[in-house]
Amino acid sequence: MTTIALDAMALTMRYRRGWGLRDCTFQLPAGRIAALIGPNGAGKSTLMRIATGLQRQTSGEIHVLGQAPGKHGANRHLAFLGQDKPLYKGFTVDEMLRAGAKLNPGWDDQYARRLVREADVPFGAKVGTLSGGQRTRVALAIAMGRRPELVMLDEPLADLDPIARQEVMHTVLAEVAETGMTVLLSSHVIADLDGVCDHLLLLADGQVRLQGDVEDLLTQHRVLVGSRELVLPDGVVEARTTGRQATVLARTPDVPGWDNNEPSLEELALAYLRSAKKVAA
């Protein structure tokens, strides 16, 4: 197993309408549960599609578990769950699992079936008749049945109710605890990721704005609250004023004179997303 699950070097994707990714450079260490955060159109899906080989980058390089995605299909140890949870509609759940087995050497049928059973999805049901949540659970079971080293989930929680969200995250976490699998999970609902993800990759306008282990990032940043007359420290990400009070998020150790607080993941992410938006505007 490589220690770097995803390794991007100046990864660039240019579409006719603009940039998908621009000079993206980052390394995702193995064993992390990484949140891929960004506004719509930030390049989250583009990044995942390039990593799976569904799409080829304009320039730059990416290595998935040490290998560049080639034309021989996705890396065997990489599982991907697309945004639309694509499954063959005319297949029954049982047949879909059989397809998973046929298409993937190293398939763990018992495990995949257990996940489907736990989700209370009937095996005989046609995929086309399943609810959005059930479909996600089946698609997840197929992704997990491959026993991947790296799993990339594109907006996996989008069409799930709160309980199903918890169950899905639980499934993912249990697998991580058991095998040390790496997860890259995209979402724009940051609250879902808090307390689950231990690594953050924040994209805006196709560029990496912030990356690192969540714990490190949180200790490196401060939410500063104080009078608006106070001098701003170095490393300000975003400063907002309401009346005479200023709220500042900055990459800094404690600043004397301000009320210093460690930000939550959501505060941190939102501050970076807002500042990226301002720069763009």
């Binding site: 799409q55 080829r56 034309k71 996705a74 065997r76 991907f80 697309g82």
Partner: protein, 289 residues
């Protein structure tokens, strides 16, 4: 992947094979029944219409089956977005593509080839009531190897176009629109020249011969103009003799049927290879999420 491809296409495959089997059963029955009738007029009475309908059906069937099976093969998968699933499994995209083509295409191409061969045998007792010989359109197109070769091209075309334009209906329409002119072109421009025609100047051609050219020549064999209007008698042959003009006919004899079938099948298989090659290129260079 073979099971997955089969499971995805089994409805179309079974339906096509069902149609082919039903036609084969009818043909076999007709062959034995027509053989038992010794009077040509009775055969014509009973099977004249059948021959016409069979021609219609067999002319349309290759492009119909090819488009119906080939069009959705990649077109529908891309429309539904399920190629994202297929292409992110451990098997590579080449295997995905090749398995689908083989599993969906082979049964129907093999079935249609057998049907064409069967028709050659089953049509033997009906020969007397057919217009023209075996080399003449539409008989040439529906007997022997051509049925299978046409099906192969229609299928390959429609599968590849579906992969390129990512749309089932467009794939089918484009296939039909390019298949029909191609068949007309091959039948009229290429097929007469598969072999040098035999020429005859005595006004006789053997039975089943396919006349591909006809001109007037003088005794030395030079082309001349002959105008029947200038004749003083209504007996045209006599008038020609008086002017020293003979009609020279170029024809393909009936015994060239199988070699012509082989040439035409080879031509179409070469086109299939070309189309499939274009599909392979598109698979690696054009097909994205």
């Amino acid at each position: 992947m073979i099971w997955v491809a089969w499971r995805q296409q089994r409805l179309q495959i079974l339906l096509s094979l069902g149609i082919i089997a039903a036609l084969a059963a009818v043909m076999t029955f007709v062959r034995f029944d027509a053989q038992s009738i010794t009077d040509d007029q009775l055969v014509d009475d009973r099977y004249g219409m059948y021959v016409n309908y069979l021609r219609l059906v067999l002319l349309a069937l290759p492009v119909l089956l090819g488009a119906v099976i080939g069009g959705p093969l990649f077109g529908r998968e891309i429309e539904h977005g399920t190629h994202v699933f297929s292409l992110t499994q451990s098997i590579g995209r080449t295997r995905w593509w090749a398995s689908k083509i083989v599993v969906a295409g082979l049964p129907v191409i093999a079935g249609m080839t057998l049907l064409g061969l069967l028709n050659s045998w089953a049509s033997a007792p009906l020969r007397a009531v057919m217009f023209g010989g075996r080399l003449v359109t539409p008989t040439f197109e529906i007997e022997g190897l051509t049925l299978g070769a046409y099906t192969a091209l229609a299928f390959a075309l429609s599968a590849t176009v579906g992969l390129m334009v990512r749309n089932t209906l467009a794939a089918m329409v484009i296939t039909v629109m390019s298949y029909v002119p191609l068949l007309v072109l091959v039948g009229n421009a290429l097929r007469p020249a598969y072999a040098t025609p035999v020429t005859s100047t005595d006004g006789q051609t053997p039975a089943g011969a396919w006349v591909v050219s006809s001109s007037y020549v003088d005794a030395a064999g030079n082309p001349v103009a002959f105008s029947p209007a200038a004749c003083t008698t209504t007996n045209i042959p006599e008038c020609m003799r008086a002017q020293g003009v003979v009609r020279r006919v170029g024809f393909q004899p009936d015994d060239r049927f199988w070699s012509f079938q082989a040439i035409e099948a080879g031509l179409f298989l070469a086109l299939v290879a070309l189309v499939v090659g274009a599909g392979a290129w598109a698979l690696h260079h054009r097909l994205r999420y």
